[in-house]
Amino acid sequence: MSKEALSDAADEIQALRTEVREDLAEDLGGDPDDHDADSYRTDEEVVPDGGE
């Protein structure tokens, strides 16, 4: 895949991510931001994939 297509796909995943958070807020109550990993307070870093 080209870099451009990969970038577009990543953007589409982020858009879906927003949609899922909104639906979670609808199902569980509260605000979509309540389900936002970016606002979750933790000192731990997410590990990039290794996998080889």
């Binding site: 990969l6 990993a37 970016d38 997410v46 996998g51």
Partner: protein
């Protein structure tokens, strides 16, 4: 809400169903007609030969089960590239409880699970679901390039 896309064969999507989505389209199912009984199921065609499927269950005010799966269309079927999952009840042998074990990623090669990697420690399932989607977006290039290298796929698609 109802499905509008035709069926498409799939070789490696045992948990979710096998329906093709036109580019840019989204499907969300919240009724009982969801195959494999996810309360919500999202299936979105992505750029190039990719699609993402997200399934989740909600019960008792919590996300009790979810799956985030990237697929690559190859040879007329959808191959799993990577998968994140959570099952609070642990009903599936290979599933993880993200609230206890943390979030993991299953990496696929040649149609089979190649390795499982740790992503981040325990966190609420709804947050872990969002973390999984973000992790996929952030690492998409690496996942796809590795998949293409493993399967001798040219980058021109």
């Amino acid at each position: 809400m109802c499905w509008t896309a035709p069926l498409l064969p799939s070789t490696d999507t045992p948990i979710l169903d096998d329906r093709e989505v036109p580019p840019g389209a989204t499907q969300t199912v919240t009724e009982d007609n969801t195959p494999r009984d996810y309360d919500r199921l999202y299936q979105r065609a992505l750029a190039g030969p990719l699609q993402i499927r997200v399934g989740l269950d909600v019960s008792g005010g919590e996300v009790t089960r979810f799956l985030v799966q990237l697929e690559y269309r190859r040879g007329g079927s959808w191959d799993t590239v990577v998968r994140y999952d959570h099952d609070a009840e642990g009903s599936a042998e290979s599933s993880h409880d993200v609230t206890e074990e943390g979030l993991h990623i299953d990496i696929y090669r040649d149609g089979e699970k190649h390795v499982t990697e740790y992503v981040v420690g325990p966190r609420p399932a709804g947050i872990a679901l969002d973390t999984a989607e973000d992790h996929l977006a952030q690492n998409l290039e690496r996942f796809v390039e590795r998949y293409e290298r493993w399967h001798d796929i040219r980058k021109s698609r």
